[in-house]
Symmetry: C2
Subunit: 488 residues, 2 copies
């Protein structure tokens, strides 16, 4: 059924037919989080985007090794090899050991990914778990003549590199562009050129996260981790590398340079980048007051949020846009997504209760083809969802007796919905996604019943409700804006 | 309130007053799982035992750094530095990369620990994340003259070590005992003595998990990981080291030797060991057919199990025994535990509904003291639970009007129950432990309300209930034996 898949390759700026290196196998590497803060929309989008890519490739018959790293050391506050390590800084502020910070935020990241129904990747390597592999790569780059050491720090020599390999192929910034965008050296710098970047960094005395190396005690530069770990688990050249568009430069450009400089070959055949997210039309930022973390979306505890939005609403909203488009979050847009999602999932339920007829008035096979065509076209989930809503219309019409499906068409429609809604888009109903959501919905009914009972002065019923809820540990709170409840 | 805590120290074979190295701070290291198979009772017991120690120490006002490792490399099939790496073997059988095995079983271990309501430790270091630290320690032991290298493998020289430090202090096996228990060398061995053990092992060509080292490519011996990681996060000497009793020899004995040989000091002040678990009176073993993993307990899918047992039943059952006693699992014993747990948790709920009187007929303060005394006596949870059941009796008697508590005593009893049942023993009700259970209870109320409405011919309410439930995907089924419901 599934025809060839086309992937938009950032490297070539065009859609290309996907051909894996090893038949039926795919190696995919995606940049994961630096675990020093609460997971937010900037984590949700690549998480969900590449979860769908992972699911679709598996559904298309590939055996996929999906590697997503956890950055637990070496990521400095700015990209110019300066500033404090992000995790060490958080540890200093919280008076904890850096690895306590790593543990805490790795757990919250995993929880958020699970809430969003993202499958765990096949391997989740950490920076601290691959220091030796990174040192080996730095040694190789030095040996190949594309790096130099100054006072315990090793820099990739971009000008030297550019003599043999074209620098800037992914971002489209050549060396001159890069030089223009880089601050001039202040005379104190050890770098030969401002475009050079550190692949191993000498640890100052106060730097906690440090390892011994041939160049003294230090830690890896931020970019080298992905080069070393992707090589270890996927080989020197692998199929797909994903990440957010903000990583194209300098991070992914640096990965390409490091891999060429060390292995003598290009690391990645298909580069995929998801676009950015805005909130109420603006870039998310703590100073703008529109920085909302995922847990806040899920529980509604943020002044910008009118109420809570379930993880599945976030997932649906993100997949309603193509991954290469920007997405703007607002209460209005999320509430519309919630309605759409409910409609889709209700149709999935209805589908189990409609009966087949002798004849079909709808071309189910054509729907199936359209769905695959959408996904094969660079994982076009909004088009896929539009086709599925065509199916929703038919399901509801069949239920109302306005359209009909013969038994085999009905079965095929069920297969389409289960495959695309559940397996590929990874949607689960609000009820399935959390027992608590179902409790929420039932409790809304109970509060309504109690309100009705009070209005009609049926105090026996109102008391019964209060007492029985109390027995199971639920407390009702009456306020001016209605009643609410909580587990005691 | 809390007086001094006594801990049974395996090293001295007696209870000792616990005095931390740094006032108000505790460093605790516990041996975690080798992640190559499904989590089972042998993981649950230390997980729960040291979770309660962690909780009680925190409750006693200590700031605790709790480190529990994940063994993701270097654990060979038998203790004599022979056989295949356990994870690499599983990877070979499943045709996966070893780190895919690690990822899969780390996730299932974390899930099981969460189900059992064990708090995450402060840090969960991995072997692969600390190769350099292990190499540094091996180098130091060589430098100090307590190890020798043969063909790329480094052995700890136990005879040499024993000249300076007494070997066998923890297990009570001296060098002669150990020699007797060890197979004679076959003439092919590189070891100077059969009691020597590897701290760095040369990787054969087929060994996948390998790192470069001063002695060529290899991997750490199993024991060195805990010495290196506890030193990194807790210091050369720290307060508490925990683990299963089966680890006393050779693993913990080796840890002591490695730390002395490398740092010149004893690593641990208090060694704590939980006892073993049997199933139907026999040691758990795959060949005996009584090897039941935790997921099987939770879902009841094992021929030895009459039905499923909730994680909280397992937790309660384990804590009903002192951690230094053996525990025998059987259907009968688990069903008894389930009854006891339900009684305890029901009393906790009842406590919120009983009213205070003018006078007290019961000495609540004495109960509180008994609870602390039990926990201070080497974390004696069965005695604590017995005292809490004394409290259960009082709660039920107060409810029935046979005993009474004045307002401050009632408050204090609530504090005792919340502190010991919830915070220290880590029990949560069956409902809380799964959102679905709460839905069940609320739905029971809804069905009762609908039944009442029908009886009083209030069909508007009955219809409202049916329609609103339908909207959230719940279908009511009316049968001869009453109504039931299900998610459509």
């Amino acid at each position: 059924m599934s025809k060839e898949i086309q992937i938009y390759n950032t490297l070539t700026r065009q859609k290309e037919v996907f051909t894996p290196i090893v038949k039926n196998h795919v190696g995919m590497y995606v940049c994961g989080p630096t675990v020093y803060g609460d997971p937010h929309l900037g984590h949700a989008r690549p998480g969900i985007t590449f979860d769908v890519v992972f699911r679709y490739l598996k559904n298309s018959g590939y055996k996929v090794r999906y590697v997503r790293n956890i950055t637990d050391a070496g990521h400095l506050e700015n990209d110019a090899d300066e500033g404090e390590d992000k995790i060490a800084k958080k540890a200093r502020l919280e008076q904890l050991e850096p690895m306590e910070i790593v543990q805490f935020y790795t757990i919250s990241y995993h929880k958020a990914m699970k809430d969003l129904n993202c499958l765990p990747p096949s391997i989740e390597p950490t920076v601290t778990g691959h220091i030796i592999e990174q040192i080996e790569m730095v040694k190789q780059i030095l040996k190949n003549g594309f790096a130099y050491e100054v006072n315990g720090t090793v820099y990739l020599d971009v000008n030297k590199y550019n003599e043999k390999y074209p620098y800037g192929t992914l971002s489209g910034r050549n060396l001159e562009d890069t030089l223009e965008g880089t601050r001039a050296l202040d005379g104190q710098s050890e770098k030969k050129s401002p475009v050079d970047f550190a692949i191993w960094i000498k640890a100052n005395p106060e730097h906690i996260m440090r390892w011994s190396s041939p160049w003294g005690e230090g830690f890896p530069g931020w970019h080298i981790e992905c080069s070393a770990m992707s090589k270890k688990y996927l080989g020197e050249t692998f199929d797909i590398h994903g990440g957010g568009m903000d990583l194209v430069f300098p991070h992914h450009e640096a990965e390409i340079a490091q891999s060429n400089a060390s292995n003598g070959c290009n690391p990645v055949n298909y580069w995929m980048h998801n676009n950015m997210i805005t909130v109420d039309g603006k870039k998310m930022g703590k100073s703008l007051g529109n920085f909302i973390n995922l847990e806040e979306f899920f529980n509604g505890n943020h002044e910008k949020l009118e109420r809570a939005y379930a993880p599945m609403t976030i997932r649906f909203f993100i997949l309603q846009a193509h991954y290469r488009s920007t997405v703007d979050f607002s209460n209005e847009a999320l509430q519309a997504a919630e309605k759409g999602f409910t409609k889709l999932m209700n149709a999935l339920k209805t589908l189990n209760n409609v009966s087949a007829s002798d004849t079909s008035t709808y071309d189910v096979k054509a729907l199936q083809e359209k769905c695959y065509t959408a996904m094969n076209d660079d994982f076009n989930t909004p088009i896929l969802i539009a086709h599925l809503f065509d199916g929703v219309r038919i399901i509801n019409s069949v239920k109302d007796g306005k359209e009909s499906l013969n038994p085999s068409d009905l079965e095929q429609l069920k297969t389409i919905f289960n495959t695309f809604v559940t397996d590929i888009l990874g949607f689960i109903s609000y009820e399935q996604s959390s027992g608590n959501d179902l409790t929420n919905e039932v409790m809304e009914l109970v509060l309504q019943l109690r309100g009705n009972a009070k209005k009609s002065k049926d105090f026996d019923t109102a008391d019964l409700i209060r007492d029985e809820l109390d027995k199971v540990g639920i407390q009702i709170k009456d306020g001016r804006e209605g009643s609410s409840w909580e587990v005691k």
